[in-house]
Symmetry: C2
Subunit: 132 residues, 2 copies
DNA sequence: CACTTTTTTAGAATCATTATAAACTGCAAA
DNA sequence: TTTGCAGTTTATAATGATTCTAAAAAAGTG
């Protein structure tokens, strides 16, 4: 199993549940944008045994803390996550409520000219809302 | 009362509650970033009579629909609103959980090079997260 | 004033997320 | 391999923001 090492290296025990969630999250070509609810549905389809909702939350938070996932800032009642943890941005299709990755090169350089004393910039995220 | 016309012009009856909320929201020098919870506290201090929480939600949504307020996309369990409805961006101080306006001129032009068929860009929002 | 429509309200309902505490599991040391 | 224990999983309860409901109150109109 290719995810065992990954988990072990980051101090997470490679449990059956975590490995199955890894399969759903990372064993794919494109990056994956999801809410916990959507992920739960996919896990249900993909695996035979049930994984508790609490475990899904636990795992996603653990993965996020380890840097395997990113939260996407967006106004929604549900939290969106992204398997693409590189520095990039998003389109958000307001009608379909779907996210699309926007590579840094698609946006061009962003120069934050203002500085705040005693603070440093951790990230710069761009959300481009789309309508028909 | 200076807000009566504003409300009437947008088809909202200028009720006592709405006028009081207008005072708290708009009668200030700087732009105001808030959650419903914070707003409720301020209303409690500012006004003698109690305004129901449901009314606060109703009013904020009505004002947002009329374009007097904007939601700010951010990862938080609570929704943030902004009285600054001009096209601008935000710093978000992760430690203090506070927002700071970033004028467009502080960010410079943003050029979205990629296009999505059949969709047009409604807004471009930049969130700059700050750490110590 | 009489009547209609909008608004307010308290409280219930909903829904995402987090907490709890007991059972289970991976894993390292004996 | 067995034992012991920290780390995990789990069902369920709890929380907290937000929305819904339906009845009362207020605003607008003639």
């Amino acid at each position: 199993m290719k995810y065992i090492e990954k988990l072990r290296n980051s101090g997470l025990r490679p449990t059956k549940q975590r490995l199955q969630i890894c399969e759903v999250l990372f064993n794919r070509d494109k990056t994956f944008h999801f809410t916990i609810n959507e992920l739960e549905q996919r896990i249900k389809k993909h695996t035979d045994n049930k994984i508790s909702l609490a475990t899904i939350y636990n795992t996603i938070h653990a993965f996020e803390k380890k840097g395997y996932l990113k939260q996407i800032p967006i106004n929604s009642n549900q939290t969106y996550f992204d398997t693409n943890v590189t520095d990039h941005h998003h389109f958000y299709d307001l009608k379909d409520e779907k996210l699309i990755d926007l590579e840094k090169s698609d946006v061009g350089p962003i120069n934050i000219l203002r500085k705040i004393d005693g603070k440093k910039i951790k990230s710069v995220e761009v959300l481009v809302k789309l309508e028909d």
